[in-house]
Symmetry: C2
Subunit: 460 residues, 2 copies
């Protein structure tokens, strides 16, 4: 008789928690649908061939692999078994794995269904993903992503619309965020200065540490790595960070002698157009140092950063999602020239943030609900009929199963925050009326079913 | 550059399919919530310890096992590796598996949260489950279950309510079903005749073949297996099948000299009470031969059987779900005396049935949607403002990303069945009006944004 437990990094969602999650999702879905995005889902199980090699070496190690069925060892060659090499054996005994994100499945779907899809293809997808990461606060092994993507157009109207949707989502959720944006073209412009892609990659890794080692620390490390030619670029990036306002930043980049070329020009033109199209740029912060991974993105990148002073101090900051444009979304599966742009929201972090700030609305649903209580079995039939009639009128109504003491039934109503009890004993049954109790106010009246419906459905 | 594919037995759900699935789920959820059931979710990943031994040997073989991370072979002892025994090795390299149903996770949840739950605990759960079964039409390896359960009461009011909810679900979905019911107590009453549990189990296996081998075939096989003492019981069951009406069946059982005892009495009392409490018993068919597996259930059992003459012939019949009462739900995890009763709907089969019968309603949503089309980039800003204003009025509105030829934009609107196009060229921009086209009727008017909102929001 084992004591049951959950795998590390996974969670149950009780009805109380589900109320909050469904609230967040309904806000998001309403906005997604109003912008013409359609729901899509893909299987949790994908062929490992689809997943491997798409997320870098680290990602490959974080994939959950599913053991083949039956006598999976029968197809493994003797040598692999003798070598005791887990990595090699895994490739022979596991053909499938669990979805790691929602972008690679989208790319696979687009390639497999390219003849049926009308482009631009706008879909949203809300599903769990799995990563064999070390669990810690706010980081789970099974967690939910909410992705919106536009596939098959290069128009920056999509970038602008996605940023606007992010703004709408957090406005309606009443959670304060900054949306950091950048265009990879700005960073790509440093390539001539660095001389090679390898140097450029090293440069990105070093400047990514600026938060920890400071401006001078970055310079020291650049020089130590033989990247002294990039110090001026770094100085420029550091200065751009302290420049206030998006327009001023664009002007700074346009006037910089240091960085030039068509990549920069396109980046700045795109960025200006996106900022112009956006209704409100109040919480959109242009940050030339934002890279969001080295290889994946090719155009605009976004990062949704929590910045809400009402939250407990250790919760105020942090990423709630991000995204960007990837010009070669489907190329990994052999279909070229399909550009995509998308944003991914982390449902669990949004939930945790709203909860930490007690920013969820009061879920009032139960307060309009009625518990029908039968005092004994001879009253059950009338109780069933009462519950049925109230539900037929569109009300939420529970019939307590069984006929224990009234106190027990009312305790249930209170525990579940139900607003009313419809109590039925012999007197009520014979009169075909109900003792209708307002559990909040403590008042009670003898009412007919029609009168109850009137009380509960008429505007207050 | 591999050609992407999906694992056998799994599927993508495109936005068109998702509309149907969301429709089914919204019907179900509305009914579940109106009866006071709360949403719950559990992780896809469960410890194998939680899952194994709960579904019989066959079930254990159908579990998808997830390979441990990292160097999983390092903890395996040499002997196991040399033996090349897949089953044994699996126990040492896989600690977790994928959820096989929603009932065992519910039991685990109840045990782990027993101090926080108010009983009776009424939850619904809509999530995928995984079985490494041979895929075939209507049977998938990743499929969705929708479960409703009441935990912690023995009252048959719950059985009655669950059956009523099944009726409501299929009434609203406009899908014709019969709900076959039985009480395990009736079958248990044959135990004294059979003499032992083993014989009783064999008896159940044989009579389960009646569809294929007929009444006489069952008798022959019973005698061949040395179960001649059960022939009279079988004759009685066969006769009961041809008896018309639930009341007549109960009367038949009450008068049967063959079967007696308290199990039968309780079974018949329960059954009568459930049928009495039910509002409509028109599609509730008492069938004393219904067993639904041998060991799991302890009281009432249900089976939802499709019976819809409007469907294609090979689709008319089949199970859309089932359930029953299990008195020892949580005992497998060491918590005794918690009775549960539940029904599980198979979402995929319900979807396939509605689709086969073209019984889905017309999803009219897109027909009220507007595509805003800008003729060139100088019109984009006004187009963005138009889309924003329409959405602010609660309308669904898409802005075509980019400014290709109008024909291409209108083709997109038609492919996605959008009802209207708001076309914006120089003339419209300068007039701050929109050429508003009804794509169904083909008519077009020059309207202000306020006028469009009026057209689309006023009752017809």
């Amino acid at each position: 008789m084992e004591k049951p437990s959950l795998p590390s990094g996974t969670r149950d969602f009780s009805p109380a928690v589900m109320q909050g999650r469904k609230y967040i999702l309904s806000v998001m879905e309403t906005i997604f649908v109003s912008h013409g995005f359609g729901a899509m889902e893909t299987p949790a199980l994908e062929n490992l061939q689809t997943l491997q090699g798409k997320y870098g070496d680290e990602g490959d190690q974080l994939l959950f692999k599913v053991l083949n069925s039956g006598d999976f060892l029968s197809k493994v060659n003797e040598k692999t078994i003798q070598e005791k090499d887990s990595k090699k054996l895994a490739t022979q005994i596991a053909d499938r794995g669990l979805r790691y994100d929602l972008t690679v499945p989208l790319a696979r779907f687009v390639v497999m269904n390219r003849d049926k899809i009308t482009f631009p293809f706008k879909r949203y997808q809300i599903q769990p993903v799995w990563r064999a990461d070390r669990p810690q606060r706010g980081r789970y092994r099974e967690f939910w992503q909410c992705d919106i993507d536009v596939v098959g157009t290069q128009s920056v109207v999509s970038e602008s619309e996605l940023i606007e949707m992010v703004q709408e989502v957090f406005f309606r959720l009443d959670l304060r965020v900054n949306i950091r944006i950048n265009h990879r073209g700005v960073l790509d412009s440093f390539l001539p200065i660095l001389g090679s892609v390898e140097n450029w990659n090293s440069f990105m890794i070093v400047i990514d540490k600026a938060d920890k080692i400071g401006k001078e620390g970055v310079i020291r490390e650049l020089e130590a790595r033989g990247l002294g030619m990039a110090v001026s670029a770094w100085n420029w990036l550091w200065d751009s960070k302290s420049t206030t306002g998006n327009e001023a930043k664009i002007a700074l980049a346009e006037s910089a002698e240091l960085i030039q070329g068509s990549a920069l020009q396109k980046a700045l033109t795109d960025t200006k157009q996106i900022l112009n199209l956006l209704g409100s740029t109040a919480n959109v912060v242009l940050d030339f140092t934002l890279a969001r991974g080295l290889s994946y993105y090719t155009g605009m990148v976004f990062e949704i950063e929590l910045n809400d002073g009402r939250l407990p101090e250790d919760f105020r900051l942090g990423s709630l999602g991000g995204g960007g444009r990837y010009d070669n979304l489907t190329e990994i599966f052999g279909l070229r020239d399909v550009s995509g742009v998308g944003v991914s929201f982390g449902l669990d972090r949004v939930f945790d943030s709203l909860e930490a700030g007690t920013l969820f609305p009061v879920f009032g649903f139960n307060q309009q609900s009625v518990l029908v209580c039968a005092m004994d079995d001879t009253c059950l039939q009338f109780a069933v009929n009462t519950a049925r009639a109230l539900r037929a009128a569109g009300l939420h109504c529970e019939l307590y199963p069984g006929t224990p003491k009234l106190k027990k039934q009312l305790d249930y109503a209170n525990s579940n925050s139900l607003g009313y009890a419809a109590i039925i004993g012999n007197v009520e049954r014979d009169a075909q009326k109900v003792s209708f109790k307002n559990l909040h106010a403590g008042t009670q009246q003898l009412l007919s079913i029609a009168e109850i419906i009137q009380v509960l459905t008429l505007p207050k």
